[in-house]
Symmetry: C2
Subunit: 405 residues, 2 copies
């Protein structure tokens, strides 16, 4: 509740500063000591001590900048680089018809990746874990000798208990109470991966990635929408993720927008996802049984002038606008990001949305919002899983490394 004036405060300040510096370099890439001094508002000798600590732990390296034309006299400031090849995480994106695994280095670069696409169906958790472990074996074989995996993150479209990675409910995979976190930890542990496994909701992780290094970077208030079969959202409020009392917040797909509409699989009528989800788009376009890849095809046909496709896109755009208007009025966000399936749709409805917002959104919040595609393209969720995995290292670099040593 209160901060005591004892020695623990000094330790806490040191940990906080090391954490802040490492996070800065992780997010912004190579940074000169001079820039760090200015950004962190600490003196040069403190920055020197902190970077020496991080370099000694193998997390960063320092080098002279490339010679700059017209550089003035005086010693140039050393540049602090993250060491992606030495320090990495494993990131997994578990979709209803795909699996993606990546090795992501400190600094956020994707060093290696594996993808598997397969027809939809109810996949057993063990099957998913086996595939991801196999990908890990392949990718680990290519990692630098002496490098260390500092975290594992997995994203899934479902309700997750974050404390232990239990997937409470993932309807599109047919999972109920599947212990994904512990199963992954066990499978990866057999390969010598000792890092903590974090499992999160795909929309929450997509929002995290876009907030750290995507279209919502620097925003205090943002909404990241995503959808494959259903529609989910990750919401940033006041710079922090909206979690809700039990971590179940952000279920925008089940916001009722059309009480006279279709029955939703949740039992309510007219949820937003029944109007803008995959099935709504495919039904409107006259391809009720089309695969997921039909959605971009419909969007392409619409932009080519196909009347039925155009009408379908327009219809879904109207419902999208109503929900986005609600979000603008409720959250007054700086940015609304259209991910997943909605990323395919966005270019075709962008103008329509802006026009419709003039009716649905109140003027003050409407003037402040930007509608956009994800800054990380199709990788928001995967990158978010990586960012979640880096969390413990970035919060407490020496403590996290000590646990893995």
């Amino acid at each position: 509740m209160a901060a005591g004036p004892g020695g623990s405060t000094q330790d806490e300040v040191r940990r906080h500063n090391v954490s802040t510096l490492l996070r800065y370099v992780h997010v912004h890439g190579p940074t000169s000591r001079a820039e760090l001094t200015s950004a962190m508002q600490l003196n040069r000798s403190t920055i020197g001590t902190l970077t020496a600590d991080l370099a000694g732990a193998g997390l960063v390296r320092e080098e002279l900048p490339a010679r700059t034309a017209g550089a003035g006299a005086g010693r140039p400031s050393l540049v602090v680089w993250p060491r992606p090849e030495q320090v990495y995480v494993l990131a997994f994106d578990i979709g209803v018809d795909y699996l993606i695994a990546a090795r992501v280095g400190l600094g956020g670069s994707i060093l290696d990746r594996r993808e598997l696409y397969r027809p939809r169906g109810d996949y057993a958790m063990d099957d998913v874990v086996n595939h991801l472990c196999r990908f890990t074996t392949e990718m680990s074989a290519r990692a630098e000798p002496g490098s260390v995996c500092v975290g594992v993150g997995a994203a899934i479209a479902g309700v997750v208990r974050e404390s232990d990675g239990l997937v409470r409910f993932a309807p599109n995979l047919g999972w109920v109470d599947e212990p994904l976190g512990s199963a992954l930890a066990e499978g990866l542990g057999r390969q010598g991966v000792r890092a903590r496994v974090a499992v999160g909701n795909d929309a929450d992780l997509g929002a995290l990635a876009e907030h750290v290094r995507g279209a919502a970077a620097g925003a205090t208030d943002a909404v990241y929408l995503t959808g494959e079969v259903g529609v989910g959202a990750g919401i940033i409020v006041g710079g922090e993720p909206l979690r809700g009392h039990g971590g179940y917040g952000g279920e925008l797909g089940h916001m009722v927008v059309n009480p006279a509409g279709r029955l939703c699989r949740c039992g309510a009528r007219g949820c937003w996802e029944t109007e803008i989800g995959e099935k709504a788009i495919l039904d409107a376009a006259g391809h009720p049984d089309g695969p997921r890849s039909t959605v971009p095809a419909v969007v392409a046909a619409a932009s080519g002038g196909d009347p039925r496709a155009l009408a379908a896109v327009r219809h879904v755009g109207e419902w999208l606008a109503i929900g986005v208007g609600n979000l603008v009025n409720i959250f007054n966000p700086e940015v609304v990001i259209f991910g997943g399936l909605l990323r395919d749709l966005f270019p075709a409805v962008e103008q329509q949305l802006s026009g419709a917002l003039r009716t649905v959104g109140l003027s003050a919040p409407r003037e402040q919002v930007r509608l956009t595609a994800p800054g990380l393209g199709a990788d928001s969720t995967l990158v978010g899983a990586a960012e979640r995995a880096f969390g413990p290292l970035l919060f407490d670099p020496p403590g996290t490394l000590a646990l893995l040593a």
Copy 2:
């Protein structure tokens, strides 16, 4: 960005601890030193120093507890009391057909109050300010000699720029860009009131009060709904008020729930307030032109079995349930509080809402939510204005007193 290890940290710790102790006593009332030691996790001598500081500044007093039957041996712990008669704020609640002013003491007790009810109409800001200044003159005359007004808070149903208390837009009063904050400061200044004037949105302040000392005390996630003519909300996310990028967040009244519904004064169709606001209730009950007091009369008639009143209450209850279900799915709150007009309606629709939530709310968040009337009755907004006014003192007690000395 980073905390430096210098002397300023010690000062900051001291200010933080004095602030925490004063806030604790303000919220919890008279508290023994022993309880403060335990709650703040500081040692007894530090608590002694902090209370001595606060007592010296006239903010608290210490006294021996009343003799307790069966008390053991040993010196009893001194009890720290806030001093409401010495340290108070002025709180104003500006409604469309009423004005309420109160003098509220440290610790939250309402020491004195004035109320004015009048027919609806477009009231000029100067008129409102004159009434509030007259109330203040009357109340100040009854204040203890030597007491100090440490803040002024005013609540209004409108969009407010909090930095200077400019009311951007208060449709029910017919105000656009009225400088309420500076006008109040000037009027009160002529009476010798030198404290800062804070103006806030009525729903935000109602939520603040309920969070500090009402039905949402201790909750990290809560929604406070209120309505007179329109419907507004104050939302607590992760323990902090949802503000949005420009402070315009929480406009739940303009969440579209019925796109086939009535045109709203905002220009959209089927906003929540067109379905559950005052006009919706009065129309449904067959009293389209009834005054505000007709709403409790309709609720009373419904509970007495009047069929038309019953049908009206039931109809509005259905729309209320749809919106509340959305809020449960979006925010996963611990509590949803029904204030203002909805406070009158709540007892009549409580059962209906709980039943309907079984369809609209997803099961996980639904199981965690409590629906309730405000803990502060009709005074949530007024008390919230007082809490906002106490803000600077509670954040920095010595600094705030120094400014007023």
